[in-house]
């Protein structure tokens, strides 16, 4: 394999990987405040992309306005989702709630199919689509956008969790909800906020990746699965871990195409995921599992 080829595989992997990473972030946000895994995460991504497309091409808004509106609308969907489907069942077991999220994902997917039809659609790249040459390999400006936003988001999230009162309250609510409640934290609002944030981040991911990979009503399941795998690989509790996991997953996929064969791409990626979980059940950067008996 030539160096420029290797570099192209790497860039290709980082491009897909940062898409997975952005989605993985959404999983950690909800997991961090509720210990839940939200299987409707991929649908937030799909909704974000499709709403932005409608605002841009049907309503004729410029991207810079269409994007924030789309993110806010999807965040509202996240809030409604939490209030209607999660909160009424908050005393149920986690597994019940996780199944509820699966149901919501099917619901959102069907609604999207009715509203937007079945064909995938695209958005123009934010800053042109002229590829940038890099030592014989190429990268698109949109991929740079995805990478940059992923990095900025994860840094801001770290600051949010470590420094801000709300961020700390979120962590506390996840670790021990009754105790957090006794400390004066309104855990119910915290859960709602985390759904709103997670939905918003999902929507942002959807908007960012639409120019690269197009968005249709059915992409949520696939993207959600990849994001989830990335999050598990890196550590479900840790935003930095989730991003790392997503990017590693993308690079493994890309290199396995280069070295082995594209048919085995997913097999190799999931084999490595299983291997990592076998050695480190909490993921690469996840907290050690400390379950009290």
């Amino acid at each position: 394999m030539h160096f420029d080829q290797f570099l192209q595989y790497l860039i290709s992997g980082i491009t897909s990987g940062s898409i997975y990473a952005l989605i993985a972030l959404g999983f950690t946000l909800i997991h961090n405040s509720t210990k839940l895994i939200n299987f409707a995460q991929g649908e937030f991504v799909m909704l974000g992309g499709l709403i932005a497309i409608s605002l841009y091409s049907a309503a004729g808004l410029p991207l810079i306005i269409a994007i924030p509106i789309s993110i806010i609308l999807v965040a509202i969907v996240g809030i409604v989702f939490e209030r209607l489907a999660i909160r009424p069942l908050r005393n149920s077991s986690n597994i019940t709630l996780i199944i509820v999220t699966v149901g919501v994902s099917i619901l959102l997917k069907n609604v999207a199919m009715i509203l937007w039809g079945r064909d995938p659609q695209s958005l123009p790249a934010f800053t042109g689509d002229k590829p940038i040459a890099l030592f014989g390999a190429t990268i698109t400006p949109q991929a740079l956008w995805v990478i940059a936003v992923t990095v900025i988001t994860v840094v801001l999230l770290q600051v949010f969790y470590k420094r801000s009162i709300v961020g700390k309250a979120m962590k506390a609510s996840a670790i021990n909800p009754p105790a957090a409640n006794l400390m004066g934290i309104n855990t119910s609002n915290i859960v709602m906020l985390s759904f709103a944030m997670s939905a918003g981040f999902g929507a942002m991911a959807g908007v960012l990746i639409t120019p690269i990979s197009m968005t249709g009503y059915s992409v949520g399941g696939f993207l959600g699965l990849k994001g989830f795998a990335g999050a598990v690989l890196g550590g479900l509790d840790n935003p930095v871990g989730a991003v790392l996991g997503g990017v590693v997953l993308g690079i493994i996929e890309s290199l396995s195409i280069g070295i082995i064969d594209s048919g085995y791409k997913d097999a190799v990626a999931f084999f490595i995921l299983l291997l990592v979980l076998f050695i480190r059940p909490s993921g690469i950067l996840g907290d050690k599992v400390r379950e009290k008996v």
């Binding site: 192209q8 595989y9 290709s12 995938p120 695209s122 990746i209 195409i257 594209s262």
Partner: protein, 396 residues
């Protein structure tokens, strides 16, 4: 709290029902008219009105309703009205099988379907057991492989499309080496197998075979591998959105070899999705895609069908709608002489010669249940976002 759960449940059920509304049975025979004296011919159809294959199945359903309406308005077939029972398999072969038993219990005399190759294959043995004709609208090669006693098809077989692409590379492009990038679904894989089988016979060498998953977000890794080979052309075999993604990624990587698509991209969606990257892409398609490529009687049939469809549904029919047109009309033709007896009906379909349809001039025989030939497809090039016929250079 309980009332909230109930409310959420009712809401989701309502939306689910909304999503499935396409699944309900539709009949085209108007009940207001006076009962026909003769018993109506019941024809079943299993199409993918919803689900991933809906861009194919929805126009097929529209076409079936339109054509049956036309037949009935003209007095039916020898005085028999036609009643079409349309079932939606939601693009899932399992549902298609269930639909067969439902249609059989209604007493249908033939079944049109399915929309996709997996559905057509799934229902083939069931329909053969019931010994009634099946008119498949899908292109997968195995559909008409033995045992094919009861199954016919109106879509051009994948084998025809592959041969068309190979001829184009050998005769028009005059190249020796090419690479394949295909979807990992059955359409992509069956195309790949056929290319592998036919290429050596034509003196072509396949230098690289790569694949992708239908919803992959990025194919630059596969294309990088192809870029490193001596391929003179890239054949992309898949259905949307994969091939559009591949076209975009090729441009990003600066790959300049010609892109040859499959008949899976013979729709406007590909052009919309790939945008400027679609320019110069060449692929095989039925003549209906470029009506100017059809001559004489076929041109007339195509134009008449297109304007009738447009008048009713305010939308242009695609080539898949054409498969439905051919299926119902060939069946109606055969019913005219054979009546509803299953053996006679099949023999009559096998006698179809020179039927001028949308997807080609159909000639079925006892051995050939495909009906169409190489001549019924043309190579189409995308130029300025439009389809034009890519004329083959004359043979020496």
């Amino acid at each position: 709290m309980r009332k909230w759960i109930v409310l959420a449940l009712v809401l989701s059920l309502a939306l689910f029902a909304l999503g499935c509304q396409g699944a309900t049975k539709q009949t085209a025979s108007s009940s207001s008219t006076v009962e026909a004296k003769k018993e109506a011919y019941k024809i079943g159809a299993i199409v993918s009105v919803t689900g991933p294959a809906s861009p194919l199945g929805a126009p097929e359903k529209n076409t079936l309703l339109l054509e049956v309406d036309k037949i009935n308005k003209a007095g039916g077939i020898n005085g028999h009205k036609v009643e079409i029972l349309i079932e939606d398999d939601q693009s899932d072969p399992k549902n298609a099988v269930t639909a067969v038993s439902k249609l059989l219990s209604e007493g249908v005399i033939a079944i049109i379907g399915g929309t996709t190759t997996p559905s057509s294959m799934a229902i083939k043995p069931e329909i053969a057991k019931a010994k009634i004709p099946q008119m498949a609208m899908a292109a997968g090669i195995p559909i008409t492989a033995a045992p094919d006693e009861w199954v016919f098809r109106t879509a051009q077989s994948d084998a025809v499309a592959v041969q068309k692409v190979i001829d184009y590379m050998v005769k028009t492009m005059k190249i020796k080496k090419f690479a394949i990038l295909s979807d990992q679904n059955s359409f992509g894989q069956s195309g790949t197998e056929e290319l592998k089988k036919l290429a050596p016979k034509a003196g072509l060498e396949i230098v690289e075979v790569q694949s992708y998953k239908t919803e992959d977000t990025n194919m630059t890794a596969q294309l990088t591998k192809i870029k490193g080979t001596k391929a003179e052309a890239l054949v992309v075999w898949g259905t949307n959105p994969g091939p559009a993604q591949a076209a975009k990624n090729m441009k990003e990587l600066g790959i300049t070899i010609p892109y040859i698509g499959s008949h899976g991209i013979s729709n406007k969606t590909f052009i919309t999705l790939a945008g400027p990257a679609a320019e110069g892409v060449v692929f095989p398609a039925g003549r209906a895609l470029v009506p100017s490529s059809a001559k004489g009687a076929q041109a007339e049939v195509i134009n008449k069908f297109m304007s009738g469809y447009k008048a009713k549904y305010k939308d242009n029919p695609n080539t898949f709608a054409g498969h439905a047109y051919d299926a119902i009309n060939i069946l109606a033709d055969a019913l005219k002489t054979a009546g509803s007896n299953n053996e006679k009906l099949r023999t009559e379909i096998e006698k179809t010669t020179g039927f001028v349809g949308i997807s080609g001039i159909f000639n079925y025989t006892q051995k050939d249940h495909d009906g169409t030939t190489l001549n019924d497809m043309v190579m189409v090039e995308i130029k300025d976002g439009k389809w034009i016929e890519k004329k083959a250079t004359e043979k020496k």
